[in-house]
Amino acid sequence: MQAEPGPARPGAIRLGLRLARRDRSAVVAGSMLVVLFLLATVGAPLAEALTGHAPEQPFSGGLTPAGIPLAPMSRGLLADGAPDPGGAFFVLGTDRLGRDTFVRLLYGARVTLVVGFAATLVALLIGVPLGLVAGYFRGRIDAIVSRGTEAAMAFPSLLFAIGLAAVLGPGLLNVVGVIALFSWYYPARIVRSAVLSLRSEAFVDAAIVAGASDGRVLVRHLLPQLAAPLIVYATSVVAVNVLTEAGLSYLGLGVPPPAPSWGQMLSDGVTTGLYRIQPWVAITPGLALVATTLTLNVLADSFRETLMPGGRT
């Protein structure tokens, strides 16, 4: 990030417009994220009302007589396996229990988005103050924080997360907490190294000479300088956290069933071996996950190019 104070900081709207002009993929990714939010909030109940299928409702016609889920764009079956002309229509097919995958996918997006963003926020709330303090005061405080982050990074975090999630039991808040606990050290390190180099800038000395307290220097002078790297970082970490949540749900440690989440939908299809007979039970939730993380990653890339020109990728 650039150290010398550049021209007056552009407002959020001007910045957004600049981003949009420079990078069409940012516009596409941004719109996709908005669409995803709309689908999760408004789209899910709307789809439920339109199809008349509740996310947790199994359909007897949603499975073949052999108990195999239906492929996308198929109509429910009669008891003898023949298509039921007046039967329910399944846009994205059905799952292991004959539930509507489309409705479940939309409701599952809620878990994905809530956990992805909330866990990132909590990690930032822990990591940023620690990094600020370590980089600003240096010395012993820095040594303690740095050794702490190094030790935390050396842990087999996935195994610990699984252990912890198993201890706490499944649940939305537990998942957020577990993910945040194993990701706070990245923002701490980023902020610390940025503050270490900003610390020797003239504007910090000027603020101190002018009588600003340590707290004021940290919050009013240093924190705003960190906005760019933190926005870039946070966007890409939401993507990582979306995958971590899916991974924990995949292992049965996320939001408890029958509430739908993408990781659990995926494991429902994969760990039962069902995907070999009906690959769609694995393809659909996986594609939803990839589309979401891809959107966030593309957005992070655009932020990086625009907010931190010349910065390392």
């Binding site: 190094e150 030790a151 050396a154 842990f155 087999p156 975090s157 996935l158 195994l159 610990f160 699984i162 252990g163 912890l164 198993a166 201890v167 993507a239 995958l243 899916a246 991974g247 995949y250 292992l251 990781g263 995926l266 494991s267 299809g269 994969v270 760990t271 995907y275 070999r276 690959p279 694995a282 393809i283 996986g286 996950l289 990839v290 993380t293 891809l294 990653n297 593309v298 890339d301 390392r312 990728t313």
Partner: protein, 333 residues
């Protein structure tokens, strides 16, 4: 170099103590919170309180926690990880073979992802903004976005299961083709060729995300170096761009790549469980997750400790390699 090693060893010891301490604390909290104590677990639901007390005595769980922990720690130093509650045999009997499977899987994956990432990253860096670069950037973007627990079953389905049903890349060839086995593992000592055949697809599944990430990292590093003036000087003296990459940029970016490799190989040793699960490989992650579910504390703590130890080992090797390659690191240590 010797001081460097001593400092590394000190850090290793500290990390081992911390990791085991937290793993231990975590699982004592569990048993305290849920009441599902290990002795109750081993003795069974119908056991009388006297029987449970005897089991606790045999297991050593009647001792104070700190005493159990110290005994565990002194055991680890001697390669003894205690006695598994669920499997009823020494933890190390299962732990070391599992660690071998995981190490082979991750090692093979690391080779694969480097082999994929280096050409992709270089091609992008040398032609920034070209059609090829944009294509590769998109591909790597997808690669880092796809979770391994989705990639792995998709690979199984399209490259192992469908061929076994006679369908190869959408073409019905009529006969069952077994290129990759769908599941399972063969010991190296049994048949090296079968061993490789069983590991290749899992390693490939594991390597895709890393290959994409490393390609992007390398592209950024090389791009940064290409803008330096020494490149201009070397080019002006008549060195080809390939020569610049080989003789100038390569040695500059290699240490950074190696450090990252050490970190990722280390982290993956404890985190390959999705791939191990999908392919039925009896690795460390697989063992750890089933032990967590079984409340088998010695096995769980042992697996976490061994994964952490191997991670520290991988990082130390990477640090040493970096010191050997980068004179600045060598001198400052």
């Amino acid at each position: 170099m010797i001081r460097f090693l001593i400092r590394r060893l000190g850090a290793v010891a500290l990390q081992v103590v911390l990791v085991t301490l937290i793993a231990y604390a975590l699982f004592f909290v569990v048993s305290a919170a849920t009441g599902a104590t290990p002795e109750q677990r081993v003795a069974g639901k119908t056991a009388t309180p006297e029987q449970v007390a005897r089991v606790a005595e045999i297991l050593g769980t009647d001792r104070p926690v700190y005493e159990q922990y110290l005994r565990f720690l002194s055991g680890v130093v001697q390669g003894d990880f205690g006695y598994s509650f669920a499997y009823r045999q020494p933890v190390s009997n299962l732990l070391f073979p599992a660690a071998g499977v995981t190490a082979a899987l991750v090692g093979l994956a690391a080779v694969l992802w480097m082999v994929m990432a280096i050409p992709i990253g270089l091609a992008g860096a040398l032609r920034v903004g070209s059609r090829l670069d944009r294509l590769l950037t998109t591909l790597t973007q997808v690669g880092i976005s796809a979770p391994v627990f989705w990639v792995a079953p998709m690979l199984v389905y399209f490259l192992a299961f469908l061929p076994s049903q006679g369908v190869f890349f959408g073409v019905d060839v009529g006969a069952s083709v077994t290129v990759f086995p769908i599941q399972g593992y063969t010991e190296f000592s049994e048949s090296p060729l079968e061993w490789l055949r069983h590991l290749l697809l899992p390693a490939f599944a594991l390597s895709i995300g890393f290959a994409a990430f490393y390609a992007r990292f390398l592209r950024a590093l090389v791009r940064e170096q290409l803008a330096q003036e020494y490149v201009l000087v070397a080019r002006a003296k008549g060195l080809s761009i390939g020569g610049v990459v080989r003789f100038h940029i390569g040695p500059v970016v290699a240490p950074a790549l190696i450090i990252l490799l050490g970190l990722d190989v280390g982290a993956t040793l404890g985190g390959a469980l999705f791939v191990e699960q999908t392919f039925g490989l009896p690795g460390l992650g697989f063992l750890a997750v089933s032990s967590i579910r079984n409340l088998d504390y010695p096995m769980t703590v042992g697996a976490i400790t061994l994964a952490a130890l191997m991670a520290v080992l991988a990082n130390t090797v990477a640090d040493l390699a970096q010191a050997a390659l980068d004179p600045r690191v060598r001198r400052s240590a």
